[in-house]
Amino acid sequence: MLLCALLDGELSEAELSDWFSREHDLSDAAVHGQTHQVIGDVLRGQASLAGGTSARVFLAGVHARLHFEVRAEVGPQEVILQARSIEVLPVRALAANGAVFRWKLVAGVASLAAVMAVSWTVLGTTPAGAGPGASAPQLALSPLSPQDTTSTSATTPFVVNTRQGVLIRDAELEALVAKHRHYGGVSALQMPAGFLRNATFDADVR
């Protein structure tokens, strides 16, 4: 009966401690437990009399797992030794044609050719800029064209982020940017993206 109460979650802590302090035949307890489970399933109309994992199998699994974890805690040195012994083993077996020099030569030249071909391809497509390759990130590339090079040195960002928020380095320029966005935003992209962009962006700059 105590076992039934335990399975139903109705056993108090004191009763549970008392039950564990006494000696029991666990095999009998397991049988009682399984019987209780089957009766419960039948009463609930979920009977699977032959199916499911039996309590014995479940307990055996728990024991095996406990045994394994205890071994893992007790024997770390053993594990390390095993790992070291694995390191001694060769990583790869030699290829069947490994001893033949000309195959190594062929492999080397083929690798070189492949690298050259890929490099050629990459170098050949990058200058296209606006082509399909341009969708890839190009963080290292300067956004300025060669014509811009003369002014690059003088070009500075005038909005800076600080812990207190966004600070404007040049208040007059800020006013011009605000005017440009209000009165100068003449673009087919102005609606809706441009207007929303300006209304969103202006608040920080203003």
């Binding site: 606006a130 960002p157 007059e172 011009l176 100068g184 673009s187 920080d204």
Partner: protein, 358 residues
Amino acid sequence: MAVLSHQPSALQVCGLRTEPTAAIFPLWRRLAGSLLLVLATGLALPCLAQTATAAKEPSRSLTEWLTRMHEASRQRAYQGTLVVSAGAHTSASRIWHVCDGVQQMERVETLTGAPRTTIRRDSDVITFAPDSKTAWVEKRESLGLFPELLRTASNAIPEHYDVRELGVDRVAGHLADRIEVVPRDGLRFGYRIWAEQKTGLVIKMQTLGAQGALLEQVAFSELQLNAPVRMEALKRQMGDTRGYEVLKLTMEKTTAEAEGWQLKEAIPGFASMGCHTKSPPLGGAEPASLQWVFSDGLASVSLFVEAFDPQRHGPEKSAVVGATHSFSQRLDGHWVTALGEVPTATLRRFVQSLERIR
């Protein structure tokens, strides 16, 4: 000679490897063949890919794409969160958009930086600043220029930009057509645009510099199409200025010629879109007295002209924030600043082309 020519074939038959010339010669021949094959494959693949890209005609012209994007915002209600990022700088806002077939209304509430609420009804815009209890009222005529301008013969956008269709992506939970608007010269930037597949609504846009470098990005991080946005509620919010000081921003229209300025040389693709003077300050300072606006249909440039002040102005300078670049230079007794979403070289050409005619 007869012996030498006979040796290789005899050794090949026997399968011997002791004679180097006999064994390596066919090996090198095979090797050279492999090398050529690899190189040819490496070179041919990109060529084939480029040919395929070039051969694929876009399903819509650039004008059709731009018109579709415009119409999408005129016929849909939506709400979402918009993120604008330029370098390390990021801004975000909450968007509500609604239309009734005649009018469009929009509410933009910033989520970063100073709190601002901007409400637009067609070209009429009001911006509330709760921290200073100020409301700016203005009319932005530029908002009404498109898409009518796209339908006229003066639409020169396709002369300066090309369009490529790059397939379909998923953005903010929506399938979107990805297109690239490629400039035909170095005077302007390119754009990569994601337009929602069913409606054509722009849900992401990138401004690209030289070599395809990303300068700025505008994108919805979350978007709900056909959202229950009520126009009446937005109208009520737009008219409720209680507790706010209302400032009306107006501009006096003029012409560059009337102000004594002209361009010695036209900048290819850019047409004058208007000129005005004595507009009230927006940023607390009043440095400019003249603003001359140009556009090539997608990019716009403002030329600001003011009197040269040695206390404030010095040698030429340039600056950049996101896709917006600026270039300033002294011109006789004036200080000229060109500012817009174009490369610095284009701005330099604008400034250096400007001349005083009286």
